[in-house]
Symmetry: C2
Subunit: 305 residues, 2 copies
Amino acid sequence: MTGERLPSWRPGPTRDAIIGYLDGIGHVPVEDRVAYIDNDGTLWCERPHYVQLDFFVDALRRRSSDDASLAERPEFAAVLNGDSVAMGEIGLAEIAAALAGLFDGRTPDEFAAAVDTFVDRYRHPTLEAPVGSLVYQPMLELLDELRACDFTVGIVSAGGTEFVRRVSPRLYDVPPELVVGTLIGYEFARDDDDRPMLRRTVSLMGDANEGEAKVAHIQAQLGRAPMIAAGNSGGDREMLEWAQANAHGGLAILVDHDDAAREFAYESAAATFQDAEPITAVADRLGWATVSMARDWETVFPQRA
Amino acid sequence: MTGERLPSWRPGPTRDAIIGYLDGIGHVPVEDRVAYIDNDGTLWCERPHYVQLDFFVDALRRRSSDDASLAERPEFAAVLNGDSVAMGEIGLAEIAAALAGLFDGRTPDEFAAAVDTFVDRYRHPTLEAPVGSLVYQPMLELLDELRACDFTVGIVSAGGTEFVRRVSPRLYDVPPELVVGTLIGYEFARDDDDRPMLRRTVSLMGDANEGEAKVAHIQAQLGRAPMIAAGNSGGDREMLEWAQANAHGGLAILVDHDDAAREFAYESAAATFQDAEPITAVADRLGWATVSMARDWETVFPQRA
């Protein structure tokens, strides 16, 4: 297979559109070659739950076994009881904020260690796979192809930035500074030896990283507009439209989850972001490259060692 | 000179301390090798004015020649009259905010074009040099040496992020996403063809990037703590202490402006940040590597072509 481009992608219009686009940008300065790829549902599986949500729920279960009073808080009670009606009424944003508050006062290193411990023992509930096997093999190949074309590749997420940063180097070969998610604020403090340290707070810096905020946060944190963006949900719509509007002519890629046999079949609107128009309909209307998992991918997940 | 490390640095304890430190970190994982370097006064000349301040004042002069009413605003009157007493009373933070407001509503591309135009015609008022000749040759060599040791190098500034990002690739070979400064907020909008765009606002995202805020912003935007930090003013103190406290053992480097003959001689406290203790005294007390420009640098500015 040496030398074959996007080998896990089946020949057809989607693969042709991506390779044709990359073959046509030889005139574009390297500093303008920037691609931002959504994480949950675009680079790895987001069903039945976001992995990051599982991380926080796992932390809640451990904490509440030591402190039963935690279960009295409505957001936590809904989660611990798996009460999807109550969770829907409270809203994912409120629940996410309450869960993030479990790490209030922790240092970045303490949070990173908690993520590492969770990730090491995590197994997907139905696929029974570790995190490294939840990524989409064709998307890993797309990241490699983009880098071979001198693109700077960033990862974008509605989830908490620091969780994604902890897995992005290992899963995607993307360094922490190229991850843009929902940012928790930090408080400066000093330790017993008067040395500087940081503690997580319960407040966000900026907004939840969805929709219009994704565009504003990318500019603020990374400083460059995308030529290529890929996503899968209503929360990615503005970022994809922004890429398409690039002055060099952009490429917007939508991953459509239409493969119940190998993954999950659903129309994704992002849990915290409801668009009136289904994102697949937006893609058709605006002429984006829609990736049908069922049709366009020969392989979905990497072969396990 | 091929193969000589830090060739513009004179042999002595400061050069030895830096090279000795770099020679001793072979055991440190590459992902932990991170260095953050302050911009104004550390990488390039900040006297008699910050270059970015000159940029905004230049924009004010152009604008006020079309709109005389601008000069009625006290912040602008003080600047236009060169009234340093009034500027001191108002404070640089207030003046900077007013000046940044001159670009309220502009797109990132419009702001970048204004920076490019200014930078292309800029000449330093006393050194009569273009911006590329205001950088410190020994610090450019330090950046190269750090990268040769597999460091990720970021630029930190109290100035506006987007100005620094516009010059950092060309001056320092540092990409926009590795610049952390004072961030202006963006507003999402749509153009006449309903395509997404961003407009600058007058509000900051986060705080002015000085002191404790530098540490919090670096963590939030880049996600990694430094092993090495370099600065020159009271506004860099916490960042330098943070680097020194690194778990691998860090290196804090202070540039001391003690060379009136070749540059400027002054104790820098950062215009918006006054520490009770002079930063050179902090450096001595905490055992930082203090760079005497007069003693440690054979050359200050790059040789002009």
